[in-house]
Symmetry: C2
């Protein structure tokens, strides 16, 4: 990897400033670099600090901010002054961003936001309390203010929030030559763009021309002739996840954002979509593991403790239910302590098998691979897998238990219980996510507790129940 992430510095003037790499060869943050940055901040040594972060990419500046002590973060920004690129603030965790913004002067924030692309500016404004947001907006030039206010009116996590309002739009009767000349002569073009849009005088989207198409076309040709008249577009109110699926499905790098009247209001670029996909995958992974999707590495102990509490509490209730089932068989357990020893195995096998099926179902629902057209096929397949694994493990574990307790009957009982619980685990693992999804609840958030409740209760009930009947306890 030879890209900018090893920001080596030019030879230093004095003996103090040695060139220091921000990341080591394995891509880990260089602790020496961090120490040097912290020292420079402590000493308010602006020059040294600028030297250290010279040529930094915004994402590296963001990583540095996150790695610093919380009270060093706003000081870094103040010390760097105009050398600090506020885009870096879009690259840090939300909690860190909010904390930093709280410390900064409104004027500093307004100054920083002015330099940003509108999508980045929106991200920063979103993190400000209402009052400060209004103050910052007031300090911006009217054009920018109006565009940002409009973006902020769209729902959270919508295409309108993620879009950039800087784009190039030309009329259809322009020629390729005219368009290229226009771009050469306009100093204030968007920083990055991959297509230009074609609109009518009222701003309605008529088409789009990819840059490579434009470059390949001769100057006298009109835009109308080369434009794609069914360009990729999304409505501004669309949820960002839907937009991301669209980019993924059609391999897009950019898409027009239109309002309900098909007027062009912005453009969404693929780099924002990459972030959305990552966020979404992150959320799914965390939720399946019982962690709230907004938990970040930079959160405090108390925040995390409170945020993880509900899941554990739900699990405690579940576990009490399961214990209630066990208590029904209190006298059986008294007569035969082997049951108490083996019963966690049955429940745990059921829990794991249920989790396997649930994981596949939740992910397939998230990526839209599982739908009405194949639900039944997947359900029967999972049930069959459950039955097969049930039989296999009934044999293995039945044998082991029989040997361990010198009782073939114990083996038989645990085997029968296992087949039962693995079938229920498969059915629970698929029906719970499908059902929650049908009810409009995100299956990643809440499938887990339901599935383990099913597997625990079925596990304990079937094992202890079959044992009680068999041994006439």
């Amino acid at each position: 990897m030879e890209v900018e992430n090893n920001a080596t510095l030019p030879p230093p003037e004095g003996p103090v400033s040695q060139p220091l790499a921000f990341r080591d060869e394995e891509g880990e943050l260089n602790l020496e670099f961090l120490a040097a940055a912290a020292d420079a901040i402590e000493a308010s040594d602006t020059e040294r600090l600028r030297e250290l972060v010279e040529d930094f990419h915004e994402s590296e500046l963001g990583d540095l901010l996150e790695a610093l002590e919380p009270d060093h973060r706003p000081r870094l920004i103040e010390l760097l002054g105009s050398a600090f690129d506020f885009t870096a603030l879009t690259e840090v965790d939300e909690a860190v961003r909010e904390e930093i913004l709280e410390e900064l002067e409104t004027a500093t924030v307004a100054e920083g936001v002015r330099e940003l692309d509108s999508d980045d500016a929106v991200t920063i404004l979103e993190s400000l309390p209402a009052e400060e947001k209004a103050e910052v907006l007031e300090q911006l030039p009217a054009m920018e203010r109006v565009a940002l206010q409009r973006s902020l009116e769209y729902p959270e996590d919508s295409a309108g929030r993620r879009m950039q309002t800087e784009f190039i739009a030309v009329p259809p009767f322009w020629t390729v030559g005219q368009t290229i000349d226009f771009m050469r002569e306009t100093p204030d073009l968007p920083e990055t763009f991959y297509e230009i849009f074609v609109i009518d005088p009222a701003g309605h989207l008529l088409g789009a021309v990819a840059l490579d198409r434009l470059l390949r076309s001769k100057r006298p040709i009109t835009i109308q002739e080369i434009m794609d008249d069914e360009p990729d577009r999304v409505e501004a109110t669309e949820h960002q996840e839907e937009v991301a699926r669209l980019f993924e499905r059609f391999n897009l790098v950019s898409a027009a954002v239109v309002d309900e009247a098909n007027r062009l209001v912005g453009v969404i670029l693929v780099d924002d979509i990459v972030d959305v996909l990552e966020e979404e995958a992150d959320a799914d992974i965390k939720q399946l593991g019982g962690v709230k999707p907004d938990e970040e590495l930079s959160d405090t102990v108390f925040y995390i403790q409170r945020s993880r509490f509900p899941w554990l509490f739900a699990n405690m209730c579940t576990a009490f239910l399961a214990a209630g089932v066990i208590r029904i068989f209190e006298s059986s357990l008294q007569h035969m302590v082997a049951l108490a020893i083996l019963m966690p195995i049955v429940a745990s096998m059921g829990g794991n098998a249920g989790t396997q099926t649930m994981t596949v179902a939740v992910r397939a629902l998230a990526t839209r691979e599982l739908g009405r057209s194949n639900a039944w096929r997947i359900i029967t397949r999972e049930a069959a897998v459950g039955l097969l694994n049930g039989i296999v493990f009934a044999v293995i574990m039945g044998g082991l238990a029989a040997l361990w307790f010198q009782s073939p009957e114990i083996g038989l009982v645990i085997g029968l219980a296992l087949i039962t619980v693995l079938i229920f685990a498969a059915l629970g693992g698929i029906f719970v996510p499908l059902g929650l999804n049908r009810l409009g609840v995100d299956p990643a958030v809440s499938s887990g507790p339901f599935v383990t409740t099913i597997t625990d209760i079925v596990g304990f009930f079937s094992f202890l129940g079959i044992a009680t009947l068999w041994f006439k306890l």
Copy 2:
């Protein structure tokens, strides 16, 4: 969403062919459409079939293939003939692709592969058995064959496999005008590109120019003047995950691929990277849930049963260990059946708390957010969260258990056990992934069983052990 995914057809000629949408408004596959396609395949009605899939994007054609019965899939391709875009085969699950390719004639495959971008061609060739791969390669024009063979020599999942070998490279002394004219006059340009590369006569990469930069520059300016002389580049042998992190970090849409001597060999585009990120997130989610990352919705029952077996088997061994711990306290259980009823609660709380911490740690390791610079901070934070939640749940559950069994002592014992197990769960949840990562093992694959082994054993041991000591059983 108004993009091509509602492929409505032109007005039909006869009464048979009604316009049918491929997806309904919620984005679910339209069952009527599937039935119509199946009918047309059964009847070998090429015309109707072409009508149905007219204007289909490759990804829609891929979705259709997956939704069809397995034996209809190759027939669809044969019936469509040259109207079938082989790119669609890169959009289906690997198992489906292999199955289809097995049924097709080598000549058909060679014909289809010839039309593809090199990265898509590689994906298809990868899915062929060695012998057929050689046959297909033989039937390709020499230039293409050599390029594909070179790509196939790079390791699996490397940048070299994912790259496109079609790119535009110009010498540094060309002017903007010359370059644009060259692009206008060359018919055989890559299908999509976002930057042009600058190379010396030996093919070494000197720089890159983004298309928007090129368009904004005046004709007499030389490429050298506007090129970025530290372009984003990756080595062909680099793993695709590292490449994806790079794209994500620096918001790239395209990156040069170079060989060990810095000669330009290809280009990687962001749409492939989006797929890599999705695959990677998919793999993490599945592995955390105990499912192999290559499991696909289209796999057979027997394949899935075998692939899920090892995880369940590992869990069984774990559960036996835990049962062994319980057996140590056999006589305590005999004297006090309340212990048997409550012990699964302790283990289950530990398991869930451990999974929460582990999920956060595994994901943070995967996204490179967790590293040496912050490991200790996260470890102490998790331990503190564990202690806090331990105390909170000790109070809640201790109270409930004391009430349920009318014994404050039972409440005290379970409370102490809970604090113990939640601290161990936190430590296990963070140290296991960190340790596996240090050993070079993917923590997503194997952290789960280790963590639950720890929480089960600590859970049963602490609860039953404390009870035995307290009640002198």
